[in-house]
């Protein structure tokens, strides 16, 4: 049977992790249908139909779908689920909020945060903050799966021409009201998909000192990350947090500055291709995962880092 992918979007554009989730869905079955639930979301629906891996788009329109409220979205998916063997979305705050509501109503035991599709019913997923990986087999007839987006490449974004079908909206769930979203706008690459990430920890000592991280990130065209300690201390906002309860990143280059490397932080970055650690404590656990460790005072090392980068003729963007 076909696979139903739940698209994440802002009515105009698809959110980047939708592309990764579609790749994962296509590894379960090539007949991938994508549902887009929104308000005046034609543009995003069109973008979805352009993806070569998507065979059919199901567009569901309603004023109450303007903002993402799981209580409104879940009944639509439950209704469509009848025709599908798998329901798939990304395991970011969108899919985490939504999928369990769908799974519970379908009486299906959800499989969260899958990093590898082994077969249509068997999956690999991290447990204990990535300190172990479980191979699990679902015995449910219908499977609800969220996938870890950074474990799958984004799919091709153009060249397809899937038909767009309309489906009926469900009634509004009146008990939850969206009030506002405070998004941090930035010209930087997104943390989840950036090629380079520069992260600061408690060692930064203040929010003001994060300027040093910002300057380095500017130079490398990098996203800015942070440890939970730095976010808790108020140095930087929560959307920058990397780790077990924050974001998982897999950049080509991850530079950890003043981060000791708690298990919970490593869970979010240790799959990065190249890891650099700058810390004055030579015994810090972060050095155990670093390809290049520099034992130094970050307040001296970061300005030097910028100087050395300035000496280079070219820097990859």
């Amino acid at each position: 049977m076909s696979v139903l992918l739940v698209a994440e979007h802002n009515n105009k554009e698809l959110k980047p992790f939708t592309f990764n989730a579609i790749t994962a869905a296509s590894q379960v079955d090539s007949d991938v249908h994508a549902v887009i639930i929104g308000s005046n979301c034609e543009e995003a629906a069109k973008a979805l139909s352009n993806l070569p891996l998507v065979k059919k788009v199901i567009q569901v329109e309603g004023d109450h779908y303007e903002n993402f409220v799981a209580e409104n979205f879940a009944p639509v998916i439950v209704k469509l689920a009848e025709n599908y063997s798998h329901i798939i979305s990304s395991a970011n705050t969108f899919g985490k909020n939504l999928m369990p509501r769908v799974a519970a109503v379908l009486d299906t035991s959800q499989i969260s945060d899958v990093t590898k599709i082994i077969s249509a019913d068997t999956f690999l997923r991290p447990i204990y903050a990535g300190n172990a990986f479980a191979t699990v087999k679902s015995k449910d007839p219908k499977k609800c799966v969220t996938i870890r987006p950074t474990s799958f490449d984004p799919c091709e974004s153009s060249g397809g021409s899937a038909p767009i079908e309309k489906a009926e909206p469900s009634a509004e769930f009146g008990q939850t009201k969206f009030i506002k979203r405070e998004e941090v706008k930035s010209d930087r690459p997104e943390l989840g998909t950036a090629r380079v990430v520069v992260s600061g920890g408690r060692g930064m000592q203040s929010g003001d000192n994060f300027k040093l991280i910002t300057s380095l990130a500017d130079k490398l065209n990098a996203a800015i990350g942070a440890s939970r300690a730095a976010v808790d201390a108020g140095y930087i906002s929560n959307d920058h947090q990397v780790g077990q309860t924050g974001k998982v990143v897999v950049p080509d280059l991850y530079i950890a500055v003043g981060i000791s490397g708690a298990i919970q932080h490593l869970a979010g970055m240790k799959e990065s291709k190249v890891i650099v650690a700058i810390n004055k404590d030579g015994e810090a656990p972060i050095f155990s995962v670093a390809d290049y460790g520099l034992e130094a005072d970050l307040f001296e090392a970061l300005p030097q880092f910028l100087e050395e980068l300035n000496k280079l003729n070219t820097i990859q963007k």
């Binding site: 959307d239 460790g293 030097q304």
Partner: protein, 249 residues
């Protein structure tokens, strides 16, 4: 207003988890167990609401083996009024736990159910949302701020893009983020007092819920090990290595 708070007993967050040699799971014998960290935030928030006169009773509940009683007891020591332990052995998936909690909610009729947003052992992040769906109640997941209004809550949620604020009518489910508050430590007198607070024990099998796992765990493996790296002696050397050896800048 009555608040039910679900707490889970898990391997302590500071323990370096090891995979069993036969790949059947992780080592749990003689390993320190604690309350799942964000569940501590859930209890703290409920107790704070009681102290502020906004809640009248805080009931802590856990589902699991006999020893999970310690986790309920700890919640009592930081201010919950009474406890419930649903006894069940073996693996319990979030779907089963949410069905068991649903039975208790129907009996206890709380106005709010709080729990941590995710358990740090299976990292599923499902139970609160599932319970909310089964009860057809509103949900506020990943909460970092809760304001109690007349018959609703205004909740700030941590999402990938930043923060989101929603208003949910009571009764409702809230799953708590680590940044919601700073959980208190239990004082010795309160630990002693907690020993006298009642914990009702219920057998899962008496609740008429099928808790048999739907997911088979075939094997558990260690994560791939990273190759040991090197220490560089200067920033200049670091930049040279990144440019010429790793070729990432």
């Amino acid at each position: 207003m009555k608040i039910l708070v679900a707490v889970k007993r898990v391997i302590d967050y500071n323990v370096q988890v090891r995979v069993k040699e036969d790949n059947s799971g992780v080592v749990t014998d003689n390993v320190k167990m604690s309350t799942n960290p964000p569940d501590d935030n859930a209890i703290e928030e409920a107790v704070k609401l009681k102290e502020a006169g906004k809640a009248t009773e805080v009931v802590a509940i856990s589902v699991g083996e006999e020893k999970a009683q310690e986790t309920v007891r700890k919640a009592l020591a930081v201010g919950a009024d009474r406890g419930i332990l649903i006894k069940a052995d073996g693996t319990l998936e979030p779907l089963a736990v949410s069905k068991l909690l649903q039975k208790i909610v129907e009996k206890e009729k709380p106005d709010l159910v709080f729990m941590g947003k995710q358990a740090i052992d299976d990292d599923c992040n499902q139970t609160g949302q599932m319970l909310s769906a089964l009860l057809n109640w509103p949900q506020a997941t990943f909460a970092s701020k809760i304001q109690v209004k007349d018959k609703s809550l205004e909740v700030t949620r941590e999402i990938d893009e930043g923060l989101e604020t929603i208003e949910i009518n009571i009764p409702a489910i809230v799953t708590c983020d680590l940044r919601l508050n700073e959980p208190r430590y239990a004082s010795l007198p309160n630990i002693m007092k907690a020993k006298k607070k009642p914990i009702e024990q219920i057998n899962a099998s008496d609740l008429g819920v099928d808790t048999a796992p739907r997911i088979e765990q075939n094997r558990v493996d260690e994560p791939p090990k990273r190759k040991a790296g090197i220490k560089v002696s200067s920033v200049a050397e670091l930049v040279q290595k990144l440019k010429n050896e790793a070729k990432v800048i």
